[in-house]
Amino acid sequence: MQLNHAQRELTVKIVYYGPGLSGKTTNLQMIHQRTLADVRGRMLTVETHDDRTLFFDLLPVFFNTQSGFKVKVKLFTVPGQVIHNATRRVVLQGADAVAFIADSRRAAGQDNNSYWKNLLENMRENGLDPAQVPVVIQFNKRDLPDTKTDAELEESRQKGKEPVVGAVAIRGEGVLETLYEVLKAAYRAIDGRVHLAKNIGLTEKEFLTQVFSLMDTKGTALEAEFPAKPAGGGQAP
C-alpha cells in the first residue's frame, strides 16, 4: 500500500499466488474482460512459448473517490513454476492482500500445501507478517473430475480463518467473488493501519462500490449488490 497525501493517491497491491497452472492468469483475464475499458489499464502479461507466466501479469484498475482521492488497485500474478521463486518473492513485496488460487483436484493437494508454505516463507523473507496480510483462498477448477466435494471445501474453510471461494475461473465463475473477498480484506487491513475512512474519507462500501460498479457482475453473486452493466467492450489484448 502506498498512500501519497501530496498527490492524493492511494495504491493497493493484490497478489494472486498459487501453484503453476492453477489459474492465476485466467482470473486476471476474466477480471479484465469484465471491467469497463476506461477504468483499467492494459493487461501486461509476459509468457513463455508454452503459455505459462514467466514473470507476472499486471492489471491496474483505478477510480476517483468522492473526496477526490485517486485509488489504483494493482492486481499481480506470480509465476507458478518452482524455479521462479525469486520472482515470486519480488512480486510479493508490499502486498496488501493475497488471493491464493488452489487447484481443487484431490491430486493437487500436495502442490497446494507446498505453495502455501512457500507463500508464508516468502512473506517472512519480505518482512511481511503473515498474520497481518490477509489471504483469500480460491478453490479453482470446480468443474473437473476428482475435485473436492463442497463438504470438503467447507472442511477447509473450518480449518483456518481465510475466506474460501469455489471457482471455475475459465468460465468466469467465482472470479469476481474472489476479488470481492480479497479487496474487502485488503481494505480492512489497510484501514486498520491508516484509517482510510477517517483520513481520506474512503469507506469500505465506497471502495467496493467504486470497483464493482465498473464491472460486469452479470451472473455472479455480486449482481444484486452491484447491478450488472454492459461489459466494457474489453477484449483481452
Binding site: F55, F56, K72, L128, R193
Partner: protein
C-alpha cells in the same frame, strides 16, 4: 507496506521517459511530421521535452519573433501550450470537430498569429504522464491575419508575413485532431511495449539480486561449516596422536614383562604357560605395530612429519626390509623371490621411511597372499623415469593374492580404507599401511601405482627419484587449510 532493501520497479511510479525508448520514439515522431507536415512536441509531466520536431513555421515565426512585442506574445503562447492546464481555460477552448465524437482531453490553443495548436494529454493507468502538442498549423478557413498579430508592430509587413505563412501547413482543425488521435494510439502502443520491456528487464535484475543474496548466504554458511570441519579434522589427528602415545607406553611394559616371563627370569614355567605368554607377546607386538601406524598417520595428517634425505644404498634398504618380513612369510609357506640389480643403486632418501614403505608393501602382500603363494620383489637400477620426468628407480612388490577391483584402486591409499569393510572380513588391519606408503613415497617426490585385477594378484610399484628436489621435506597433510590472502589495500 514493508519495502525491500530497494524499492521494486513494481512499486514505483514510472515516468514517460522511462516508458519510452526516446531515440526510437523520436524516429516515429519524425515520420509523422514528414507525412503530415505538422510539427509535434512531446513533454513529460514536469515539462521535460522528449521530442520536438518542427516543420514549415520557422520563417514565419522567426519574422514575428523579430519584433519585441511579437517575441513577448510568442513566449507566452509557447509557455501556454507547454505548461498550461490541459483544459479549455486560459485562452484554450474545446476543438471544432465537425460531426465526429468528442476526444477526451483534447483542447485547442489559438496563437495570436492566427495559427493554432492542439494539445492532448498522455495517460497511463489513469495518470497524466505528459502531453502531445500538434502545431502550429494554419486553419483551413483562415484568411488574412487577426488584429492580435497586426498590432504587434507598425513595421510588420503584411505582404511578407503572408508570403511566409504560406509555408505552414493549412488544414481543417478536425483533420489535425484525427491525425493526433492516431498519433496517440501509436504512442499508447509504444508506452505499453516500453512498460513491458522495462518491468521485465528490471524484474529480472531484481530476481537475480534476490537469488544472489540467497547464494551468498549459503556460501557463507558452507564456508563456516568448512572451517569447523577442518578444525575437527585437526582435532581428530591430535587426539589420535595422544591416544596412540598413551597406549604405547603401557603396551611396551606388557610386552617387556611377558618377554621376561617367557625368558624364565621369574622362574620356570610349564610349556603351556610359556605358550600362553608367547601369545600375549605376539598379540602385543601386533597391537604395537597398529598403534605405530596410527601414530604415523596422525603425524602425517597433522603435518608433523619431516623427511631427511641422505645418500643411501637402496639395495641394503630393500634387503633389510625383506628380512624383517621373512618370518611372517615363512609361517604361511610363501616364497619370497627378490630380484636385485647387479650394479649398486645409490640414491638420496630417508632410509627409515623408505624401509617402512617397503615393509608395509611386503606386509600387505603377505597378508593377501594365500598359503604357499609367491611374492616377487624387484628393484631396478637408476634410469630415466617417465613417471617423474627425471632419473630414478623402481621398487615393485607383486603378490599372488586376491587382487583389487579397478574401482577400488584409488581408494586403497586413503587412510582407514578397506576393500572389504564388512565386520566378517577375512583380512585384519586398520587400513593404514598403504596410506603411509603413499605419503612417504610422495614425500620423496615419487609416485606409487598399482596394477591388479580380481583373482590375478596385485603389483605395487613405487617410483622414486634418484635425487629428491630438496634435502628436506615437510609432508603436507592430505586436508590442507585454504590459504587466505592478506588484505592488500
Amino acid at each position: 507496506m514493508t519495502q525491500g532493501p530497494r524499492e521494486s520497479v513494481l512499486q514505483r511510479r514510472l515516468t514517460l521517459s522511462e516508458l519510452l525508448d526516446v531515440p526510437t520514439f523520436t524516429e516515429v515522431v519524425k515520420g509523422f511530421v514528414e507525412l503530415y507536415k505538422i510539427g509535434i512536441k512531446v513533454f513529460d509531466e514536469k515539462g521535460g521535452k522528449l521530442a520536438d520536431i518542427k516543420i514549415g513555421n520557422g520563417d514565419f515565426c522567426g519574422y514575428v519573433f523579430s519584433f519585441p512585442e511579437g517575441r513577448s506574445r510568442c513566449t507566452k503562447q509557447v509557455g501556454r501550450v507547454k505548461d498550461g492546464p490541459l483544459a479549455p481555460t486560459q485562452g484554450a477552448r474545446l476543438p471544432l470537430l465537425d460531426d465526429s465524437a468528442p476526444i477526451k482531453g483534447l483542447v485547442t490553443s489559438p496563437c495570436f498569429t492566427g495559427l493554432r495548436y492542439l494539445l492532448l494529454p498522455i495517460t497511463f493507468e489513469g495518470d497524466v504522464l505528459g502531453r502531445v502538442v500538434f502545431g502550429p498549423f494554419l486553419p483551413a478557413e483562415q484568411k488574412g491575419f487577426p488584429e492580435s498579430l497586426t498590432e504587434v508592430s507598425a513595421q510588420l509587413e503584411i505582404g511578407r508575413a503572408q508570403e511566409l505563412v504560406e509555408k505552414v501547413r493549412r488544414a481543417p482543425e478536425s483533420t489535425v485532431a484525427r491525425v493526433m488521435v492516431h498519433f496517440a494510439q501509436v504512442l499508447d502502443t509504444l508506452v505499453a511495449q516500453g512498460q513491458r520491456t522495462l518491468l521485465t528487464s528490471q524484474l529480472h535484475i531484481e530476481a537475480t539480486l534476490v537469488q544472489n543474496r540467497e547464494l551468498e548466504d549459503r556460501a557463507q554458511k558452507l564456508s563456516e561449516m568448512n572451517v569447523k570441519l577442518k578444525e575437527l579434522d585437526r582435532l581428530k589427528s591430535a587426539f589420535l596422536a595422544t591416544v596412540s602415545h598413551e597406549l604405547r607406553t603401557p603396551l611396551t611394559s606388557i610386552i617387556g614383562y611377558s618377554e621376561m616371563l617367557a625368558e624364565g627370569l621369574a622362574g620356570p614355567m610349564s610349556q603351556e604357560q610359556n605358550e600362553y605368554v608367547r601369545t600375549i607377546m605376539d598379540k602385543g607386538e601386533t597391537l604395537l605395530k597398529l598403534i605405530s601406524s596410527i601414530l604415523d598417520i596422525s603425524q602425517i595428517e597433522a603435518g608433523r612429519v619431516r623427511l631427511n634425505f641422505e645418500p643411501s644404498d637402496i639395495i641394503e634398504v630393500v634387503q633389510s626390509s625383506v628380512s624383517s618380513v621373512k618370518p611372517q612369510a615363512q609361517k604361511k609357506g610363501i616364497t619370497l623371490d627378490v630380484q636385485l640389480p647387479k650394479e649398486p643403486v645409490n640414491a638420496a632418501c630417508d632410509r627409515d621411511r623408505l624401509r617402512q614403505v617397503v615393509v608395509n608393501l611386503l606386509a600387505n602382500a603377505v597378508k593377501f597372499t594365500p598359503t604357499n603363494g609367491k611374492i616377487t620383489v624387484i628393484l631396478t637400477p637408476v634410469s630415466a623415469q617417465d613417471d617423474l620426468g627425471k632419473k630414478g628407480y623402481r621398487i615393485s612388490v607383486e603378490d599372488s593374492g586376491i587382487g583389487i577391483p579397478k574401482d577400488q584402486q584409488e581408494k586403497i591409499f586413503q587412510s582407514f580404507y578397506q576393500v572389504d569393510s564388512s565386520s566378517t572380513r577375512e583380512f585384519g588391519g586398520a587400513g593404514l599401511g598403504l596410506a603411509i606408503v603413499k605419503s612417504f613415497v610422495e614425500g620423496h617426490g615419487g609416485v606409487v601405482k598399482v596394477v591388479s585385477a580380481p583373482g590375478q594378484g596385485a603389483r605395487f610399484i613405487a617410483v622414486l627419484p634418484e635425487k629428491p628436489a630438496t634435502p628436506q621435506v615437510q609432508i603436507a597433510p592430505p586436508v590442507q587449510p585454504t590459504p587466505v590472502a592478506n588484505d592488500r589495500f
